[in-house]
Every structure is written in structure tokens, then in C-alpha cells.
Symmetry: C2
Subunit: 189 residues, 2 copies
Amino acid sequence: MPRAGLTPQTVVREAAVLADEVGHDRLTLAALAARLGVALPSLYKHVRGVDALHQKLAVLATTEVATELTSAAAGRAGGDALRAAASALREYARRHPGRYPATQRAPAPDDPEHLAAAERAVGAIYAILRGYDLSGDAAVDATRMFRAAVHGFITLEAAGGFGLPRDIDRSFDEMVAALDTAYRNWRSR
Amino acid sequence: MPRAGLTPQTVVREAAVLADEVGHDRLTLAALAARLGVALPSLYKHVRGVDALHQKLAVLATTEVATELTSAAAGRAGGDALRAAASALREYARRHPGRYPATQRAPAPDDPEHLAAAERAVGAIYAILRGYDLSGDAAVDATRMFRAAVHGFITLEAAGGFGLPRDIDRSFDEMVAALDTAYRNWRSR
DNA sequence: CCATAAAGCTAATGCCATTAGCTTTCGGCG
DNA sequence: CGCCGAAAGCTAATGGCATTAGCTTTATGG
């Protein structure tokens, strides 16, 4: 019988695909093993367990998000950059409904790769806000607001939390426009 | 042997207490049965299963949140009401870390109690925004933004997603102030 | 008092995660 | 060319949780 030829890399990548298909909470070692054509315990040769798998998925997703944000912001500034970054994040979440929630997991303090990815993602937003002349504590606060608003919107949308018939895309655009307004008036308040 | 004297009510209430203690995702029929001094399958006399338990918990939590929001807004208007509602929500989440996530679950279309509670909660926010002269689509969009921002902030905070040393309470206050700014300038944009 | 509905129990099944220990493949080195 | 060791993969066993079936017992109302 030939070997499956797995590596930690391929396992996590397939886990990401699976998570997108069945949902983040239904990502299970059993399902992953079945999809890889391997017995469940074999996965332990590549991953420490289900929690470690989720952790690795978090690193993967956070890295991807950081890249999306960075390239959305590239060559843009101010409101343009803000809109591009917000849309990039929401589209990533729509395209990868299983990966996106993994992004919420806080990096372990001893995982340099995860820490670096998270910092890249936050840094991309932070950089955009410097275009509004925000820095220091104000930039930190504004970054947190951006993350909260966009992440909250994505989460509520995914959970089906918006009941009314009003178009959700429009609401998102309005929210981002309101963020722009808030950032432009941040100091004078 | 005397009977435990459970009812669906007491079971859900104890589930809420347990969820707050051990976390929403660790709310388990096994743990709940142990805490109630009853064998696990006995719970099925009061609840259809673990999913139904989570659903009932969602109704309970949503009802509580609606009450908190309503009484926070009572007797206040404009920025005062906004700040009070935002704080009430965050404090509820801090006080009830296991119940709060249950609040995210979308009501089943055939559960009038859940639907009513969700509508009460959203209605309280909607009412506050009428104080900013927002109505119609604008009020819907502004309500969604409020929910997204506050919910996102709560979620990120609970997940330990804010790494930097900057004081989180301050960031929250700034965010709510920025929302106030955005709402006051909503039309002129 | 006693009959019955409901409360609670034990037993059994199935799924998932984890650990232990065995077998087999593959790549490098004599 | 063959062998040998590390790593890949397997089976078996254990334990936790959810669920269903079917039994026993407690209240309670007639």
C-alpha cells in the first residue's frame, strides 16, 4: 500500500479547505482524516491534537488576512484605503467562512509566526489610520474601533443576525463611511 | 430517594449559571446533570437535547440583554443614552461571559419568544438613534453599526485580541464617542 | 387508596479524541 | 545493491459526551 505522503503543511491546508466547507466548529480530526484517506490517529504524526490543529489554522488564516489587508491598502490612502481594507476583510470572511473565525484566536505568546502575522494584520490597519493624522493612543483606539466594527459586522452577518429586509451591503458601506467620518473628526470632539 | 424537582425553567437557569462559570462552549449536558445532581439522560425530560438547551439559553440571554438595554436607555437621550446602552451591553458581557455568546444565535423563525426578545433588544437601540434624528434606512444602518461595533469590541476583548498595553476601557469610551460623532454627522456626508 | 402521568434511572450505542504499541515504507549509507 | 533506522501509518483500547430505549418510582388527583 502506498503512503499518503502527508506533511504538517498539507494537513493544515486541507483542514482549511475542510473548515470552509463544513464550518469552523465542525472541523474535526475524524472528518479531516477521512478526507485525507488516512486513519484518524495517523494525523498525530503531523499535528499534536485537535487544539493544535485549530491553532495552526489560526496562523494560516491570520497570515492570509494580513496579506489581504496589506495588498488592499497598497497604493491607496485615506477613505479609499479604509474602504478597500474593510471590503477585503469582509470578502475574505465570505470566501473562507471556516478560516475566518480561526482568526479570532489570540496568538500564543510563544508562537512567533502567529504573533508576527497578527502584528502584520493590525499594522496594516494602523498604517491606514496614519492617513487620517492619527497616531499614538488615538491610532490605537481607532484601530480597535475598526477591528471591532468590521469584525462585529462580519460575525453578525454570518450568524444571520440581521433580520430586517434592508440590504446588508448597503449597511456595510454606510458603516465604513461612518467610520471615515469619525476618523476625520477624531481630534475635534 | 427524593426527587430533584426539576423543570425546564430551572434547568435552563442553571445552565446559564454553569455557562458563566465554565464558558459557553463548555456548557455540556454531562456537566449540567452533575451540577443538578441528576443522571445525564434525565435532562431529556426537560430539554430536547444539547442544541435545544443552547437555544433556550439564547432566549434567556437575549431577554436579559433586552431588559438591560431598555433600562439603560430609560430617561436618557442622545449621547447619554448611547453611552449608557453601550456600557450596559459590555458590562452584561463581562458579568455573564457564558450567556453573552448565546446572544449571537439567530432566533428560529418559529420561536415567538426569541423573536420578541431580539426585537425588544434591537428596538431599544433603534429608539436611541431616533434621538439623532435618524429614521428609516439610516436608522437601520446606524443600528447595525452600533451592534457591530459594540459586539465586535466585546468579542475581541473577551478573546484577548487586544494585545497592546493601551487601556481597553479608554478605547471603548473613545469608540462610543466616535459613534456619537458619526451619528451626529450621519446625514451630512 | 390507588391509578396514571411524569420524573428519574440504568443500559446500550455511536461518535470523537487521545494514547500505546506494532508494521511498513522510504531514503541514505556502507 | 542491500540494509537499517527514522518516520508514516495502522490497529486496538480507553474515556468522554450525546442520544435512545425501556424500566422503576414518585407524586398527585379522583
